[in-house]
Every structure is written in structure tokens, then in C-alpha cells.
Amino acid sequence: MNTDGLIAELAASAPPVKRLAPPMTRAFVWLLAVAAIAAVPIILLSNLHVWAGRASHPRMALELAATLATGIAGVIAAFHLSIPDRSPRWALLPLPFALVWAASTGLGCWQTLAEQDKRGWGLFQSSDCFVVLMIVGIPMAGLLLLSLRRARPLQPRLVATVGAAGVAGLAAFVLQFFHPFDVTVMDLGAHLAGLLVLFAVLNLSARLGLAGRA
């Protein structure tokens, strides 16, 4: 088909469309919805007193803040990247927070290993961490995918990767409410495995779900 014919066809089949809200608005609405949903099991099932005690420790407070910031930054960046004219540099937004998160967790793990030599290698409840990450992360990933699909991103891989980083951060933050002990080496392994699985699942489903739509 020649270009003039294509233009005539497109112009003839262009019903009114509902404009997308600005990405920042969409990200905050999404984050608020997820916070409201996550608040229910946190309030009902977690021990907030223990969590508050752990969070009062400076290193733990830094880790929690960095984890949450990675999640929020990842989600905000994914919503921005889903719009054609936004800078690809948005993808770097979660990176500094993720580095602080990784460093803080690594430090905590090393301290546990040094203080409690044998316990540092213990499996304990590491498998529970993995299960919690999946239970929290997969529905969250599905919700994010549904929201991002509306924009029909031109770069589905980039959007999926950054969105997956955001979901991983948020899921890890929620996990801390159900994690009343310091991270051991095995814990860290379970966390990493959970986050990687979550990252891979969202990345793959998002690529499949977002690709070819624009």
C-alpha cells in the first residue's frame, strides 16, 4: 500500500481516544493501590512491634529505605519509559538505591556471619522468604503489567526490566515485615533466588505481554 492510501485508511479509522494520565500520576496511583492492598496482610499477619524494633537499627533502617526507594523508583521509571518521548535515562533512576540496598544487605549478612559463625550458614526459614517473595511479587507484577500495557511501550524489554526491578524492591520491602531475624548467608541466597525468579517471571511475561503491541 502506498503512503497516501495508508494515511487515508488511518484517518478514516481513528475514533476518539482517552488520553493517558501523566506517568507520574499513573505511577502514584499504582503505588497507592499496591500499598493499600499490601497493608492488609502486613497489619493483620506481621509483628509490627518486632519490625519497628529492627527498623530502629541504623543499618536496617538504611536497608529498608533503600529497598523501598528501589521499588518506588523502578515503578516510576517504568511508567515514564512506557511513553515514547521520555528519556531512556529514566532507567537509571532505581540504580543508586539498588546499590545501597545490595551493600546494606551484604554488610548485614557479613556481620551475622562474623558474629554467629554457624548460624550464618543455617537454612532456618529461608524457604519461607522465597515463598513470601513469590506470593507478594507475582500478583504485584501482574498488576504492573496490566497498567503498563495501556501505554503500549515502544521498548518493552527496557520497560519490563526496570518494572521488574521495581517489583523486586517492593516485594523485598514487604518481606521485611515477615522476617523477624537478621539475614544469614542462606537467607541472602534465598532472597536473591526469589528476586531473580520474580525478575525473570515479570521480565518474560512483560516482554510477551508488551511486545508487538506498538
Binding site: L6, A11, P15, R19
Partner: protein
């Protein structure tokens, strides 16, 4: 950037900000369902898109493919444009993305496809030109089938070409099952005779 794209051209005569405002206005109307404004916009952005596409592609045909791909993408994502923001960077981002996609596709294809001009040559031995001859044979056969009586032709097409069961063919044609069998048999016999006669 636009001044460099259209030096002394339409961009030279028209202020870039003004042009962007006009495109943005047309796009906002198009989002509200104004098809005339949408057609105006798509025609108006064509020169701009062609210049952008030519920056990444030398082949004019491929450039036009990219331009058409950009138009289709713009159509699909037109709800993502925010009229409060400039239109040109939004459009340029789509064009840039589609140009890169086209380039990647071309590189990917080049990695597993080999252009062999000799593959299209025919061979001196007529028996080797089976592919070419197959097309000619199909045409000759179609001409012979067209000469068959209509009942035989219909029976042959339904049972042998469309591979319907006798019952399905009977329902489709209104011929009885027995009649279909006879007509298929007669059609094949007639074709064999005519093919033999033509050879």
C-alpha cells in the same frame, strides 16, 4: 534540530515552535475524534518523517517502509501524547525507535539469509527447472479443468482440491454421493486423456 532538517525549506519559512504548536493542535483534535485534523497531521508530518528516516537508511524503499511503520505506530499509541507537551520530540522518538527496529531486523536477516543471485537462474537441462515449470504446469492444468462440464468441475474441486468428504461435498453442491463419485471419476479420466493428448 528542525532547522537543520529543513534548511531553507518549509522549516525555514515557518517558525519551529509554531509548526509544533500546529501539529500538537491537530493531534489533540485527532485524539478527540476529528478525522480531518488527523489526516492533515499525518500528511503534514510526512516530509519530517522522511528526512528522519533517511538519516538511518539509504534505500528509499526501506525509508518509506519505516515512514509507514511510524504512521502505524503513531496511530496505535496516539493516546499517549500529552497535548501539554511538545509534539515533535514525541514523534521523533517514535521515528527513532522504528528506524532502530528496522535496522536491527535488517542486520538479523542478513545474519541468516544469503543473497545468491545464481539461485534465480534456470538450468540448461529442462528437467532441472522443476520449480519454474511447476507454475506453468499449474496454469495449464487450471485451463484444462476450466474446460470440464460444470458438474464434473465442481465435483473435482470439492472432493480433490478442497479435500471435502463425499458427504460434505454432497451437501455443498447438491449432487448425490453417487453422482459425485461418478463425476470425479469422469473428470479425472477426461483430464488424463487431455493431458496425454497435449503432451
Amino acid at each position: 534540530m528542525l532547522g537543520r532538517i529543513f534548511p531553507g525549506g518549509i522549516w525555514g519559512r515557518m517558525n519551529g515552535v509554531e509548526q509544533d504548536r500546529q501539529w500538537s493542535g491537530w493531534m489533540a483534535k485527532a485524539q478527540d475524534g476529528d478525522n480531518a485534523a488527523y489526516a492533515q497531521l499525518l500528511r503534514g508530518i510526512l516530509p519530517f518523517l522522511r528526512v528522519l528516516a533517511r538519516r538511518r537508511c539509504r534505500d528509499p524503499d526501506r525509508c518509506e517502509d519505516i515512514v509507514q511503520d511510524v504512521l502505524l505506530t503513531l496511530h496505535r499509541v496516539r493516546h499517549t501524547y500529552d497535548p501539554a507537551r511538545p509534539f515533535t520530540p514525541w514523534l521523533a522518538a517514535i521515528c527513532d525507535r522504528r528506524s532502530i527496529d528496522a535496522l536491527r531486523k535488517r542486520v538479523r536477516q542478513a545474519s541468516y539469509e544469503t543473497d545468491n543471485a545464481r539461485a534465480y537462474e534456470t538450468f540448461a537441462d529442462p528437467a532441472s527447472n522443476k520449480e519454474v515449470d511447476a507454475g506453468d504446469a499449474a496454469q495449464a492444468l487450471a485451463a484444462l479443468v476450466a474446460q470440464l462440464p460444470s458438474a464434473q468441475r465442481e465435483a473435482l474441486e470439492l472432493v480433490k482440491v478442497k479435500e471435502m468428504s463425499l458427504l460434505e461435498a454432497s451437501q455443498a453442491s447438491g449432487q448425490s454421493v453417487g453422482g459425485l463419485k461418478i463425476n470425479v471419476h469422469r473428470a479425472l479420466k477426461a483430464l488424463r486423456l487431455r493431458v496425454g493428448a497435449s503432451e
